[in-house]
Subunit: 350 residues, 2 copies
């Protein structure tokens, strides 16, 4: 029997959760980081376009496509800071992989959870090249939806086992402490940002407000630390004071996009930055000395989603957590689309 | 109970067929044309961008987004002429509507069938303004997947009841004759293009080869006819000889896109054309006299898909042919995405 041409494997939220739990969160993050690293090493083989964004008063809806010439992927993602008030996620997403040869989708999946995982995996991957060696302590500033994923990625990839947590809302910190209990961390809630960064070798900022905030001022940033800046990810939304940026070696995903969306939107357009793929591919140095302050200015790029979709598809071979979705019209004879309709009518009448 | 925030209504191919049959193909086409006309009348309220295309040797994958500031829509569509050989459609599509206010998708649907319907509805809508009054005879050149939809749209909107059919492949014509039998047409298969256009007041060209073909040469085009050119719809794919184009009053959907993709890719970039919305909104004349040769150079534009999605969503209120898809992560507390995973684990262990 010929394979069905009309259906597309679909991974629901429920199936994504079962898949992540079956693999284990830390193993999932580690394997996903390997896929991201492999794709970053062949960076030049990807079609790269800035995301296609539809901005409105309340937020943005974006399409993020990319292709390596064989496989095509895109993600639909929104960003609506006020969504919390209506019980919705600030960011929700779904994604598609397709075969470039025939153009049909080969995978449709939820990507809200998958995006949280790929963002964390990318952060930890970058930190492997940028953080001080043998770092064990991370400040986690912003204890919202992303926080636990960041913590576990840094544990899995770098061995971070001491967390210093701060959020403007103590309830967010309490949630984070509850969720991370028993997962192998020493957890320290802190009363201020200054207290949280004390003794931390890595500082992760992942706050959600859509505004030019100043989470880190210059006096808080000591020599030798690595800053993992995740929350400054769209125009008008930043977390670091420009003085901090000027002291950092700055690594970004894709400079044309980050100069618009990242922390470096606060700097002149020609401020020198390194792209992460260059570091991973050995074309640029990572951390050079113990006193250097490094910054990964993360905004999220389509290639990371592509890697995540590719990893997911590969793992579904072992863990079949998907259903087949009747998404594509498949007449017996390709030119007979209307005849398919007539036959459906005949079946209904029978 | 609060409405579920995690699910998105999904219209499968099976459900789309049942919906179309429940409404009736001709009524569906007529109502859909009304939605398209309404959106074309408010053309200036739409964000319009050329489609985002990923080209490859074998075809193209496109994302076609648009928004009216309240609702956002996009279509994923491929175009792969060689797909017929593997039993796949040349063109397959799916689409999404989303709420601009919170950014969540509100509808996911198959769009292979819906695209065939919206293309035909747009063609017939344009012909209402461009074809000779009281036309009854149409030549249908190219008898593939689109042909019957075009025929029925012209019957429903203009009263066309005599069809003269030609295809390079007699099997395609035979399929078309079979499918259209008993639907109220006088059907005349023809041995050549010249025979097909004889006596026709409207000539629809809807062939599929990806090449600069010459379906209509100058000597075949008599005074007063309307040409509905549907098959010239991507770079390097045209159906009409440039001499024909130079004799026509040309109407397009969105000039910046059509100059790249349509028949007019063969003309200088400043050749005068009228946009269909101008005609529908009364800002430009349609047909002016009995001898004029008119051409609707159709390539398909995102606003038509938006109208089709909007129409579909409206009709689902009466005909609930959809299921709810678990596409969006919906933790009890929006910031607690990781906790949702932990609770799924606890449920699985229980």
């Amino acid at each position: 029997m010929a394979p069905a041409l009309n259906t597309v494997p679909f991974v629901s939220v429920e199936h994504m959760m079962r898949l992540v739990l079956a693999i284990g969160v830390e193993r999932f993050l580690t394997e996903l980081a390997d896929f991201i690293a492999a794709d970053f090493r062949r960076w030049e083989s990807f079609d790269k376009t800035p995301r296609l964004a539809a901005h409105s008063v309340d937020g943005v809806i974006e399409l993020m496509p990319t292709s390596d010439g064989t496989t095509y992927g895109f993600k639909y993602v929104n960003g609506h800071p006020k969504n919390i008030r209506s019980g919705r996620q600030t960011v929700a997403a779904f994604g598609v992989l397709a075969d470039v040869g025939h153009g049909y989708p080969v995978l449709l999946t939820e990507m809200t959870i998958l995006t949280a995982l790929r963002t964390a995996a990318t952060s930890a991957l970058a930190a492997q090249y940028l953080a001080p060696p043998r770092a064990r302590t991370m400040a986690l500033i912003g204890n919202g939806a992303q926080a636990e994923f960041q913590a576990l990625a840094f544990k899995a990839l770098l061995g971070i086992d001491r967390l210093r947590l701060y959020d403007i809302d103590p309830a967010a910190t309490a949630k984070c402490l509850r969720n991370l209990a028993g997962l192998g961390f020493t957890l320290q809630p802190c009363a201020s940002i200054a207290a949280a960064v004390e003794g931390a070798e890595i500082v992760t900022t992942v706050t959600a407000d859509k505004q030019n905030a100043t989470i880190l001022t210059d006096n808080l940033v000591g020599a030798g630390i690595h800053i993992n800046g995740v929350g400054g990810d769209c125009p008008g939304k930043t977390e670091l004071h420009p003085d901090v940026l000027r002291r950092c070696e700055i690594v970004v995903e894709y400079a044309p996009q980050t100069r618009i969306e990242g922390e470096i939107q606060q700097l002149p357009f020609d401020h020198p930055v390194t792209e992460l793929w260059q570091v991973i591919a050995g074309r640029a140095p990572g951390r050079r000395d113990a006193r250097q302050v490094t910054l990964f200015d993360s905004v999220g790029f389509a290639v990371e989603d592509f890697s995540a979709l590719r990893y997911l598809r590969e793992r579904l071979g072992t863990y079949p957590f998907f259903t087949e979705l009747d998404l594509l019209a498949d007449p017996d004879e390709p030119r007979d689309l209307f005849g398919m309709l007539l036959r459906a009518q005949a079946r209904a009448a029978a």
